[in-house]
Symmetry: C2
C-alpha cells in the first residue's frame, strides 16, 4: 500500500520538495537552489542527498506511490523539460527518466500550472470535480484545465496557456512574447503595476496616494494597500483588472463549460476588490446557457504548500 507521494516544485531560483500523504498533509519539506547548479546532474545529486533521507524516515520507497514534479515547460507526455527560458539547463532535459533511475520510483512531470490544478482537484476546492480551470494570478498568469477528470494537455503536451490569450486586440505589448493585449499583460502583478502607471498618467488631476510612491517601487501590493484606504485610482485599477479578467474567464467558460474556476496567486490577496468586478464581468459576457452556473472561487490551499501539493497530486491521478 502506497501511503505517500513526493512532490517536487522546480522554480527558476528554488526547488521545493516534500513528503505528502493522501489527505494532502505535508509531513516534511525542504528546498535546494535550482540555477545554482550548472548541470542537471549536479542538481539531482543535491536533491537526492536531501530527499532520500526524508523518504527513508517514512518507510522507504516501497511506502511511496511515486514522485510528482512541476517544472517550467514540463511535458507530461515525454517527462522532459523542453527549452525552458527560466532554467540554466538548456534544450531537452529528460528529468522524469533521470529521477526515475535515481530514486527507483514512478515519476510524473508536468508544468507548474497543471500541477497546481491537480493539487486543487486532489486536496483543494476542486476536490472531486471533473471539469474546472485554475488560473494563477502571480508575476505572470498561469492556467491548468481539467476536462472530464483529466488535465488538458493537447496534442503536444503544451495546452492550457490561457495567460497568453488575447483580450484586448492591439493592446498592451507583452515583452516576453511580443504579442499585444494578452491576459497576462493585464491580470498579473506586473500588469497591475503597469495599469497603475498608465492610470496615474491618464488622470493627472485625480488625487492618489500612489503618486507618493516612486515609480520603480510601485507594486500590486502597494496598489492594494492604497485601495483598502479608499484611494480612487487604486480602486479603479482593480475594477479595470477584474473587468478584463472576467471577460477572459467568460471566453474560457464558453470553451469548456467548467463547474468552477479557481483563482490562485498573489493578486487574490486583493479579495473582493478583484473578485467582485471579475465575477460581474464574467457573468455579463456569458451567453444565457452558462449564466449563474460557474463557481468562481479563490484557492483554499496555503500558497507556501500549494506547489508541493500540486506536484504530489500528479501521482494519485488515475
Amino acid at each position: 500500500m502506497s501511503n505517500f507521494a513526493v512532490g517536487i516544485d522546480i522554480g527558476g531560483t528554488t526547488t521545493k520538495f516534500g513528503i505528502v500523504d493522501r489527505e494532502g498533509k505535508i509531513l516534511e519539506q525542504n528546498r535546494i537552489p535550482t540555477n545554482a547548479h550548472e548541470t542537471v546532474q549536479g542538481f539531482i545529486s543535491d536533491l537526492y542527498e536531501k530527499l532520500s533521507p526524508m523518504i527513508d524516515r517514512v518507510g522507504g520507497p516501497s511506502n511511496f506511490a511515486g514522485i510528482g514534479v512541476g517544472a517550467p515547460n514540463g511535458n507530461y507526455y515525454t517527462g522532459n523539460i523542453e527549452h525552458s527560458a527560466n532554467l540554466k539547463w538548456k534544450g531537452i532535459v529528460p528529468l522524469a527518466s533521470m529521477l526515475q533511475e535515481k530514486f527507483n520510483m514512478k515519476v510524473k512531470l508536468t508544468n507548474d500550472a497543471n500541477a497546481a490544478a491537480a493539487g486543487e482537484q486532489q486536496y483543494g476546492c476542486a476536490k472531486g470535480m471533473k471539469d474546472f480551470i485554475t488560473i494563477t494570478l502571480g508575476t505572470g498568469v498561469g492556467s491548468g484545465i481539467f476536462i472530464d477528470g483529466k488535465i488538458v494537455l493537447g496534442h503536444d503536451g503544451f495546452a492550457g496557456e490561457l495567460g497568453h490569450t488575447i483580450i484586448r486586440p492591439g493592446g498592451r505589448l507583452h515583452k516576453g512574447t511580443g504579442i499585444r493585449g494578452t491576459l497576462e499583460s493585464y491580470a498579473s502583478a506586473t500588469g497591475v503595476r503597469e495599469t497603475a502607471l498608465e492610470m496615474l498618467e491618464q488622470f493627472p488631476s485625480v488625487d492618489s496616494a500612489l503618486r507618493l510612491i516612486p515609480a520603480e517601487e510601485l507594486t500590486s501590493e502597494k496598489v492594494y494597500d492604497c485601495a483598502i484606504q479608499g484611494d480612487k485610482i487604486a480602486l479603479e485599477i482593480f475594477q479595470f483588472t477584474g473587468q478584463l479578467l472576467g471577460e477572459a474567464l467568460a471566453n474560457f467558460v464558453m470553451f469548456s463549460s467548467p463547474e468552477a474556476i479557481v483563482l490562485f496567486g498573489g493578486l487574490t490577496k486583493a479579495g473582493d476588490l478583484i473578485l467582485n468586478p471579475t465575477q460581474e464581468a464574467m457573468e455579463a459576457n456569458l451567453c444565457q446557457v452558462f449564466k449563474n452556473k460557474v463557481k468562481l472561487v479563490f484557492s483554499n490551499l496555503k500558497e507556501a504548500d500549494a506547489a508541493i501539493l500540486g506536484a504530489s497530486a500528479l501521482i494519485w491521478e488515475d
Copy 2:
C-alpha cells in the same frame, strides 16, 4: 456485427436522415419537415414511417449499431433537447429515449456542432486525430471540440460555444445574446454582410461594385463574387473577417493545443480569400511554442452530407 448507423440531423425547418456505413457512405437518405409538426410525437411518427423501411431494406435493426442525432440544444449527457429557440417543441424534450423506444436501438444525441466534429473525426480530415476543433462558419458560428479523443461537453453538456467568445470587447452587438464583440458577430455570413454595410459607409470615396447591390440583397456570397473580381472593399471585408477569425483561433489553440482546426460552412467557399488572412492572424498571435504546428484546413466532407454523417458518427464513438 453492426454494419450501419442511422444519422439524423434536426434543423429548425428540415430534418434530414440517412443510412450510413462505417466508411461514411450514405446508402439512402430522406427528409421530413421539422416545425410543421406541432408535437414531437407527430414528428416521431412521420420519421418512423419514412425511416423504418430504409432500415429494413438493409437488413433491419439487428444490422445497426444505433441512431445518432444532431439537434439544436441537444444534450449528450441527458439525451434531451433543452429549451431550443429554433424548435416548436418547448421545454425539455427527451428525444433520445423517445426514439430508443420507437426504434428499439441505441440512440446518442448531441448538438449539431458536436455532431459535425464527430463526423470529421470518423470520416473527414480529422480522421484518427485525438485533439482538434471544428468551426462552422455559416449563418452563425458553431464549434465542436475534441480533446484526447472525446467530444468536450463540460460539466453540464453545453461546452463548445466558441461562436460566443468575445474577440472585440465593446464591439458589434450580437442581437441574439445581447453581448458585444463576439466571434459570431463577425465571422459568420451575417457578420460578413454587416461588415460590408459598415465598410461601404466608412469608405464612401472608394469605388465598389457592392454599392450597386441594394442593402437588403447584400449577402456574403455577393461579397465573394465581387472579391474574386478584384473589388477592393470586398477583398478588405474578407481580410478583416480573416484577421478576427485568426485571432480567435489563436486563443482556442492556446486553450487546448489541437493538432488541427477544421473550418466548415458557407464562408469557406471564399477559399484562400478567407483562409490566408485567417492563417496569418492566427500564427501572428500564437506564442512561440504553438507556432507553425496547427493544421488549419477546410472540411473535405460534402456540405449536403455532412450533417447526416456527423450524427451517424456519434454511434461509432467508443
